[in-house]
Amino acid sequence: MSVFLGIDLGSTTSKAIIVSEKGSILGRGITNTRSDYNVAADIARMDAEFNARFSMLRNRVIQESGTAESWNDLFVALENRFHYLQFERRCDSLSAAMKEQLTHSRNGEELRTALDDILLRVRDLTRAKFFEGRVSSSSEFFRDLFSAAYMKELDGLDRAIFDTLTGVYDRSINPVENQVVEFDFKTLTEEAISLLPNTLANSGAKIAKHLPEVIAESLKPEDYVGTGYGRQLLPFEKQHIKSEILCHALGAHCYFPMTRTVLDIGGQDTKAIQVDEHGLVTSFQMNDRCAAGCGRYLGYIADEMSISVGELGPMAMAAERETNICSTCTVFAGAELREHLNLGEKKENVLAGLHLAIVQRAFALLARSGGARNEFTFTGGVARNKAVVKYVSNMTRTNYGDLTINIHPDSIFMGALGAAMFCLRRR
């Protein structure tokens, strides 16, 4: 089987997609972008490969048994355990690095014991989270999971220990995150199977039976294309790098063939792209190097309010009206936010105003690229924000009439899919 790989190295997240020669998606992988782009790309690719093997495994199992229903839950449980095991391995490296840091510390021994304790609990906590299916694989990565649990554990500790242990983490996470940890699919899967509840042991055995066939399949891509913000830094040759604009357009076209306009709001840039019926770009606009109007704007606001980006949207949805935000600059908007709150304005309203502001800026860009046409596809990490989606829908309706608006839960993969499809198109 020939497979093709597309990689989208975004400023926040790195995505990979593997497609078959017929263009169907075999596997998706995602991770957070980190300072070493190669590592980010590699992990995303590996993740996509695992994802692909799991689908193969599932297909075979289902084919054999004939029923799909019961297997789905089982595979979810299995994949969760699989991901947990990856977490555990990475946790090991991080723990080692952290302890290494402590060796030079004056009261190192004492701290190490405290740390050991904490790490154990972090692991337990995260295991439970994985096993109960409470981890969203497309937006919570090792770094987020670990730091969430770790910080929670540190919370009650006294000041001095707290400071040392946060420092230890801060200094260790970057180097560790930038190491590639090789995983063996077979070993990990077998281990995951063994972690299944006893009641499922039988089914586990059925799955294990197919493992050898599945790992025998080669997933080495016949061709690959990299795109995204960091594409120039990938060690790829020129013909393996494509502009993110074209990839996003083609990806959107593959998900929604009727798409004529794509709006992508990512972490560091916003793109408005017009596409023709073949998925070819006819025009586009991209914003400049200014955080006003892209995902980081919201991220910054979330920091100002000490909440997570995920909470912003729901909070803004609860607003009665949108406070008028005068500043364009992200930093000034942050100051304005504080002013409004001090004057007694409700935080929901101010947030709504900030959300509206970002959408208005995106729409100005959209207009410059030629406006929204039917069908209109909205993608990028910010498309996960419900309040943004609301304003995008409203503004589309008032300015461009009743268009079909596509927002796919998977649409974060559009750039990667487009990149993969490029390989197919040029065969």
Binding site: L246, H278, V281, S283, F284, M286, R368
Partner: protein, 428 residues
């Protein structure tokens, strides 16, 4: 690699050197100096009074190419000129504030006459108001050229221009020159201008060949040098275009592309371009296209000093009327629908694959409305349009990575289109 030089190029270089020599000697020879602008310039008239023209825009352009503009612009901004305004003005004023050392490192003489013939741009007027304060001794002649707002030339506008020439411009010339106009010289100039114009149009229209023997933008800006500035109406100018036309015909016969600084060139994409080029990074800018095998087969910028594509030629029959018509017809004095028509004509005549718009931050005259033009062309012709933003001479507004990013996508758009058309995937 050594740069290939053709006879026409050598000739042009010599013409310029002679001109600047004459300028630097003007204080000795007593020849009078007239500052004026390229669009709607009255070179024939200036020659008929045996004066020497100086074009502030050309000075700015040259300063940009010689990497002096950053300094000059800074000088002007220090003197109170806003960051927001046209950089040509600032570059020129900065140069004057620093001693008026021209492109050949010789000092330029101050003007005896400021001929404000302002065609197609209001900034020209402001520019001269500022120059007037810098050169309080110069005589000033104002020639107002109405806009072709409705897509045609009103007879009243021609009358108006003629009257201004008769009652304002020529008397000022006569005052400065200290003598009457030489009608015979004027007539001769007008006739020679027409000859050169015929040849220039031949050169431009040669871009219809495949491969195109010329680059109508990066080469074009050199081709228009003599005719748009100090030399139109001179014998040397006619000879330059005869030489150039000969060279172009040779390349057509040999099926050769344009001469480039990097030698041979294989044509892959044929493009039309709207807007002036960037001067501070001219070579860099050219390379961005050259690397992709793109040749420009049509450009609007090379029409700022006169549009000859629709048949207008200078004529000795009624010289003032002819000059008036010339002024009215320059590219930026035409309304947006007319500008779109011209672009469409280039695209059709030369069978172009795409349009590039280089939107210049400085130049509202060109830039305001380009996005609407872009949309109209896309609709009319269904070809990809690449939109980039640079500046004429302000290096702060030339962002290589930004342009490259946009152009990469644009060329990939073109490539995809070619590939798909080639594979007949496009179902129509």
């Amino acid at each position: 690699m050594s740069v290939q030089k053709e006879n026409s190029m050598v000739k042009q270089k010599q013409m310029l050197a002679d001109h600047f020599m004459a300028l630097s000697e003007a204080p000795m020879t007593g020849r009078k100096v007239c500052y004026t602008f390229v669009p709607g310039n009255l070179t024939e008239l200036i020659t008929a009074f045996d004066m020497l023209p100086v074009y502030p825009e050309i000075n700015s352009l040259q300063s940009g190419m010689r990497q002096r503009s950053r300094d000059f612009i800074r000088e002007a901004e220090d003197a109170g000129y806003s960051e927001d305004v046209c950089s040509y003005v600032k570059c020129d004023i900065g140069m004057m504030l620093q001693g008026n050392i021209g492109p050949t490192d010789q000092q330029l003489p101050p003007p005896d006459l400021l001929l404000l013939s302002y065609t197609g741009c209001f900034v020209f007027m402001k520019w001269f108001e500022n120059l007037r304060h810098l050169y309080p001794k110069a005589e000033i002649a104002m020639l107002h050229i109405p806009y072709q707002a409705d897509g045609k030339v009103e007879p009243s506008a021609i009358e108006y221009i003629k009257e201004q020439l008769r009652t304002e411009v020529i008397p000022k010339f006569e005052k400065v020159a200290g003598r009457k106009i030489d009608d015979a010289v004027l007539a001769q100039c007008m006739n020679r201008s027409a000859m050169a114009e015929d040849l220039l149009i031949n050169v431009f229209e040669s871009a219809r060949h495949r491969p195109s023997p010329i680059d109508a933008y990066f080469g074009g800006v050199y081709y228009i040098g003599p005719i748009f500035t100090s030399f139109r109406g001179s014998q040397a100018c006619v000879e330059y275009y005869e030489e150039l036309w000969k060279e172009v015909q040779e390349r057509v016969a040999l099926k050769l592309g344009p001469i480039t600084p990097d030698g041979t060139f294989t044509e892959k994409y044929r493009l039309v371009v709207e807007g002036p080029p960037n001067w501070t990074n001219f070579r860099d800018f050219w390379k961005l296209f050259y690397e992709h095998g793109a040749v420009f087969v049509g450009s609007t910028y090379t029409r700022v000093g006169g549009v000859y594509d629709y048949g207008f030629r200078h004529s000795a029959e009624d010289p003032l009327k002819s000059l008036a018509e010339y002024c009215m017809g320059c590219y930026t004095n035409r309304n947006l629908p007319q500008r779109i028509d011209l672009i469409e004509k280039f695209i059709k005549d030369c069978d172009a694959d795409g349009l590039v718009i280089n939107s210049i931050k400085s130049c509202n005259s060109f830039s305001a409305g380009q996005l609407a033009m872009m949309r109209d062309i896309e609709e009319r012709r269904g070809i990809p349009v690449g939109f980039i933003e640079t500046d004429l001479v302000d290096p702060r507004y030339y962002s290589y990575s930004n342009i490259k990013n946009r152009l990469d996508s644009f060329f990939q758009m073109l490539e995809q289109r070619k590939e798909l058309v080639g594979k007949a995937v496009l179902v129509s």
